[in-house]
């Protein structure tokens, strides 16, 4: 089954049309998308670098993760919301864009990984998990979120 009809339907929505017809709406939403990406990326990197043994040693991993979680979830929500709006304005172009699919695949994996394995490992007490699984999880997390960032920027260069 092809997703193309769904993508084509998205293009006809009022929201999509409004953004497409406006000169400044798309750039402004894009900039907001970037701001939320910066905050999201910052929290992801901070927690992962802490796990890898650098950044703020007096903050235990679990506390740092809990501390930054509202900002991480908040910026993720903002990125998803602004990203959906950008999507609605040009779904047909995105359907044929390779980087878009790379980004969506990385994003799905990154979200899944963050809220399951990664969360479990970071919130566990120091004694409960060894350092190796945590460090592996940190590297996987950085790689997945980097894929999202690079794929995202590359959408603008394709097609």
């Amino acid at each position: 089954m092809s997703l193309l009809p769904i993508f084509e339907w998205c293009e006809t929505t009022v929201v999509g049309q409004t953004i497409r017809d406006s000169l400044w709406l798309f750039p402004v939403i894009e900039a907001l998308h970037l701001v939320s990406f910066a905050v999201l990326g910052g929290t992801v990197l901070l927690v992962n670098l802490r796990i890898l043994g650098t950044a703020i040693p007096s903050e235990p991993v679990a506390r740092l993760a809990r501390d930054t979680r509202p900002w991480q979830s908040g910026s993720l929500a903002a990125a998803l919301a602004s990203g959906s709006l950008l999507f609605l304005s040009e779904p047909r172009k995105l359907y044929y864009s390779g980087p878009f699919w790379v980004k969506m695949a990385s994003l799905a994996l990154a979200i899944l990984f963050t809220f399951t394995v990664h969360r479990k490992l970071t919130l566990a007490d120091e004694g409960q998990v060894g350092p190796l699984p945590r460090k592996l999880a940190a590297l996987v997390s950085i790689a997945l979120w980097s894929g999202v960032a690079w794929g995202g920027r590359w959408i603008g260069f394709s097609g």
Binding site: A38, T68, S146
Partner: protein, 186 residues
């Protein structure tokens, strides 16, 4: 003095043309510039949030600064290096972009903000290092930094748009002045 002749010369150099026309190098530099946003601006935001008493409240402020600094310096170098390359690929248009000019101005203001912070309230950090919510001066610096960096991201993103480019005449005199457009007088 105008930097326009210099930018024109720059745009005619071999490597500038090569970078501008490259299929892979330019996007690679651009996406690295965006990726390093997470490292540099992301960490700046987290530090600002600590100064505002909104995150990592139990960690001493001086420790957050000390431990984030090497990463922020690395991120900053990456941003500046990739940013300079992006400028080098498209010098004249970028130099005459009001968004790019705003971005440079805002960057300078962000630098001033750091300088003021470091020479005032940061000098007395020992007095408030463990306060969950730092004193007013530190909170002000954090808020100013947050606001400036959001504006810098906006200005940077908008530099890609040609709404006020010099080749779109006639334009309002103030736009031509701000962008440094050279307009033939009639």
């Amino acid at each position: 003095m105008s930097l326009l002749p210099f930018c024109q010369w720059l745009s005619e150099t071999r490597w500038s043309i090569a970078l501008h026309e490259s299929l892979w190098a330019y996007p690679l530099v651009e996406s690295t510039h965006v990726w390093s946003l997470a490292l540099f601006v992301g960490f700046t935001v987290l530090l600002d949030l600590r100064l505002l008493g909104l995150s990592m409240r139990l960690a001493p402020a001086s420790e957050v600064v000390r431990r984030l600094r090497p990463w922020m310096i690395a991120g900053f170098c990456l941003m500046v290096a990739t940013g300079l390359l992006l400028f080098y690929a498209i010098p004249v248009r970028t130099y005459q972009s009001i968004f790019f000019r705003s971005k440079v101005t805002l960057l300078a203001l962000a630098g001033v903000n750091v300088w003021v912070f470091q020479t005032s309230v940061w000098r007395r950090v020992a007095e408030w290092d463990r306060d969950p919510v730092p004193p007013k001066g530190a909170r002000l610096a954090g808020a100013a930094s947050l606001l400036l960096w959001i504006c810098i991201i906006f200005a940077g993103r908008l530099t890609a748009y040609n709404w006020f480019d010099c080749d779109r005449q006639p334009q309002a005199a103030i736009v031509n002045w701000a962008a440094g457009c050279v307009v033939e007088s009639e």
